[in-house]
Assembly symmetry: C2
Homo-oligomer: 461 residues x 2
């Protein structure tokens, strides 16, 4: 009988994360202090992150040991199974072999706990008693809540108010794991109070929630702030995924010709693709594709430029593909992909030709998700459907070219808490949203006078 899932025993769980900063074809440009224009150092970050994570953020050591305490918790869901999508292959009548890594088996239902558990651990070791963060739809907030429960840390989540009200399930998951989750803007911070003073009915935004979480970390006792994507150490923690895939594909006797993942801030994509990107840097021929929404085309349309990581201009200036920190994406259901920027490492690897980017329209992603559910069974998160849409394109291309390609993609999470998005699709209430040309021009004009990275590349507009 066909083998559907390739399991690794726990004894084969990777003992180290892979740090791609050791193998970058071109050195990264540094983050800059927005006031001075000078590179940011560890001390600048110390008020909000513990020093052990700051050290990881800047480390260029190729492999970094995963502490035993983290490995123990990883075994709750890791190694995750690598699936062969036989049913989808047959449905598409493609000669391609399609593999997917199932990160949905974690208790939180996504890849996010891979870094949440690591960040909670390092904070615990550093003496942190309380972690603050922001969350949109709640994937990140719920993962961090669970991680904090494991290490006995307090967890405070500022959740964008419109999501807090419309999407109660992930908020309730956070509370079940013991976190305190409030709607942002809240009355608990000066940042929240000032927004509410201007607009008592503010629906909130990720930018506002970040401001609240950072303020709460800086002013709270023994408190630090935690971020679920974009930063180098987050990408690092996620690489346990791709390292497992390498072992699993070796068992299957295959090696990927194409690797696909969706990318918002970039962490699930990075974790899946970086160990293979290393092979590519040293000569392997792999097509590595990061997929984004056509309505938030950060990588395919944005310049490589210095910009703030957040809307409210609190972070250092990061060298990355960006649509401008004031860019307002269309209200697509893939909340995790509605981000103006892209992780600096991924941005650099796009410049270097290691990774390429594609953008897909919303309706195609849900159509792909429905096809996947009816063939492979699993209902995917709206973000994950972006990867599936691209997989289907590539599998059809393989059929047309008559090539038996090996396609690997990251099934970053299930959609069981996102069913209202499917409802909107099934009822014909979703649209593709036009390419936001005017909004791109407007938001990019806001960063026109920022310092430029050496490798500055203009927007494709």
């Amino acid at each position: 009988m066909e083998v559907k899932k390739i399991f690794l025993p726990e004894s084969e769980l990777p003992r180290q994360w892979y740090n791609i900063l050791a193998d970058m074809p071109t050195p990264m440009e540094p983050p800059l202090h927005p006031g001075t224009g000078q590179p940011v150092g560890p001390d600048d970050l110390a008020p909000i992150f513990p020093m052990n994570l700051i050290e990881q953020e800047v480390s260029t050591q190729r492999f970094i040991d995963i502490p035993e305490e983290i490995l123990k918790i990883y075994t709750i869901w890791r190694p995750t199974p690598l699936y062969r999508a036989y049913n989808l292959e047959r449905y598409l009548n493609t000669p391609a072999k399609i593999y997917f890594k199932n990160e949905g088996v974690s208790p939180a239902g996504s890849h996010k706990p891979n870094t949440a558990v690591a960040q909670a651990y390092y904070n615990k070791v550093a003496g942190t008693k309380r972690i603050t963060t922001e969350t949109g739809a709640g994937q990140w907030g719920s993962a961090l809540s669970m991680a904090c429960a494991f290490f006995g840390l307090e967890c405070k989540v500022y959740m964008v108010k419109i999501s807090f009200n419309q999407k109660p399930y992930r908020r309730l998951m956070m509370e079940t794991w013991g976190a305190n989750c409030v709607a942002s803007p809240s009355t608990e911070t000066k940042a929240g109070q000032s927004i509410l003073a201007q607009n008592p009915d503010s629906p909130g935004s990720l930018g506002i929630a970040i401001s609240e979480a950072v303020e709460s970390a800086v002013t709270g006792k023994d408190s630090k702030y935690s971020l679920g994507s974009v930063l180098n150490h987050v990408m690092l923690h996620q690489t346990v995924n791709g390292l497992e895939c390498q072992k699993q594909l070796a068992i299957a006797g295959d090696y990927p010709d194409v690797i696909i993942g969706c990318a918002g801030g970039g962490s699930n994509f990075a974790g899946h693709a970086f160990p293979f990107a290393r092979d590519k840097i040293y000569g392997k021929n792999i097509d590595i594709i990061a997929v984004e929404p056509l309505s938030c085309p950060t990588m395919t349309r944005g310049p490589f430029a210095y910009d703030f990581g957040d809307t409210v201009q609190m972070t250092p200036l990061l060298p990355m593909h960006t649509l401008g920190h004031s860019f307002v994406p269309a209200p697509i259901h893939a909340g995790g992909l509605r981000y103006h920027g892209m992780a600096p490492i991924i941005s650099q690897l796009i410049l270097d030709g290691v990774i390429r980017a594609e953008a897909v329209p919303q309706l195609e992603t849900f159509e792909a998700g429905i096809t996947f559910a009816r063939t492979e069974g699993f209902i995917s998160a709206p973000e994950t459907n972006h990867a599936i849409a691209m997989v289907i394109r590539e599998a059809i291309k393989a059929r047309e070219e008559g090539k038996e390609k090996v396609i690997l993609f990251n099934w970053s999470g299930h959609g069981l808490v996102d069913m209202t998005a499917y409802e909107a699709y099934l009822r014909g209430k979703l649209s593709n949203h036009a390419l936001p040309e005017e909004e791109i021009h407007r938001a990019l004009s806001d960063i026109a006078n920022f310092p430029k990275p050496k490798q500055y590349r203009a927007a494709k507009v």
Copy 2:
């Protein structure tokens, strides 16, 4: 490092289901035709079930081959991992070893697909084009919808209207898998029309939904009806679970002293426990505990008597523990345990002393679920929390007795689509519900004049 999960490779997936009817200490008493009082034969069931499933329903063959087509689909989530609950053990400071079988990894999130896939397959083979069923909270309806998608069958689900409106997520899962799900009472059947004529605002009930599904099967073209619990062939299909556990515990070098599962109609419990119950019948010393809600105490308070399987008196009379088919359980959140009867096989095994029953109050189950989530990570279905509550009692007992017992339980499904139940608990809005003495007396008086099984045992009231 501790091994957290015991995996079986797909090559070790059981090739046969175990049929406990071959090993019953006492022969089963037959279902009776309510009109004639005579035993029901295969022909009586032919209008609603395909003959191959009717044959399984009455078979006494000990092992029944699982067709290759079903095995192929099982591999989407099977074999499921057997977990060691180290974190819960440490939290409880118990010398007991606690193992749990994770059935939540199926795409539908519960054990229900084990029989849904089998039933869809046998219907397909028998020429059925369309399957009808009823569902309450939607666990069963969603599992059958997915199974029908795999085999290209139409699926029609009558969902109790109050759940249809209050719990949209599982309904949307059904639609995503391509099923047609309507609120019951509907205008599509005579049964539904007649209820609506009396009460246009009827919230519906499982009894009404069964009537609609059966009518729709009998009157529809190439249509059959499907049931998700209670019947012998449903228990049979679920035994793949316990058979896997036997292999996994052998790998761990352990054998259970205590086996625990929640029981509504009985199918997840049966599937988990029956292969071990066989060992017990032939001499092994195991404490096998079926757990029910204190507010719906079918096994602990109901008589062993003949009664209808459904509220509207359409089924044959089944010999079982029952509170009376007109019993209305309190509105607890474990919808899957709000059933007046119990599978005849389980009922018989209770009489025979192979299985014992315990009842737990609602608040204890949610407290147990919270403890489990904060130690083991996974958020459990409200039904599953009943098993966890009993596990915690047994683990504490083991600590008090200083015994290193091996406790095995069935983690029948996750609760990510049931978060509103956790919300009610966390907000202090749930109660235990008093033991429904008066309602038990009332409902039992309705069946006082029914034929009595030879082993009739009076209610414990």
